[in-house]
Symmetry: C2
């Protein structure tokens, strides 16, 4: 039971950008090299992060990516909700499961997922991008 | 963020078998036809369920599958732990993530997963296989 690569990369990108000194921008290649991940996957995530208003992409010379929102206002559960394809732990409806009508398992699994999201909702991007992380990002 | 097909099918199989009248057995084909799922996938799950002691497979005439344990003693989190390939919501170590040392996100995600499992641990197979489910299984 894992988050998709999309969500994973969205978190990595946001954390990287949150660590940059004020007004500094990063380009996709920098982020990909830093994390040693494919630029194809990251490019798609960047497009979505821009579209959803998490980050801004500046074009041309001196361009690059930077956070568009205050990290203290980006709750971790929001990122998961925005990037996961499904938050239903099981797929009961496509195709429809034969026991759907009488099944109580799905409600328990969905309740469990709510607990997962609730844990994340208690933290923001600012909480997880402290000096220690900034140092790791900067050092490399 | 979804459970694997293996875990999903393990639950379906266990729920089906828990609904059978006492001493009745079911064969794989019956279960596959009931749920309209591929017997290839289900066969692998059956092998694992037998190996882990959840069910017993009787061979020959009058053979078939039946629960090997009291459903009231099969906690739902156990099934997830036994069947999921990974319970780490992100893969930080293969390959090693560049921010592993300073990253606080992983601890929050793992805490969230513990909350998910903790919710499931409050329920057993017996809790989710009541008369209503038995009726759905029997009717078809």
């Amino acid at each position: 039971m894992q988050l998709t690569k999309q969500t994973d990369y969205a978190f990595r990108l946001l954390m990287y950008l949150a660590c940059l000194p004020k007004d500094q921008r990063a380009n996709i290649q920098q982020v990909c090299t830093f994390y040693d991940i494919s630029s194809n996957h990251v490019a798609k995530v960047v497009v979505k992060l821009v579209k959803l208003g998490y980050i801004t992409a500046f074009r041309g010379k001196g361009g690059g990516l930077m956070l568009a929102r205050d990290p203290a206002r980006i709750r971790l559960d929001e990122v998961v909700k925005d990037f996961e394809t499904s938050l239903k732990p099981v797929n009961c409806e496509t195709p429809m499961c034969a026991i759907f009508a009488g099944c109580q398992l799905k409600a328990i699994l969905f309740d469990g997922m709510q607990q997962f999201l609730s844990t994340l909702s208690q933290h923001t991007l600012a909480d997880i991008t402290d000096k220690r992380l900034a140092q790791v990002v900067k050092v490399r």
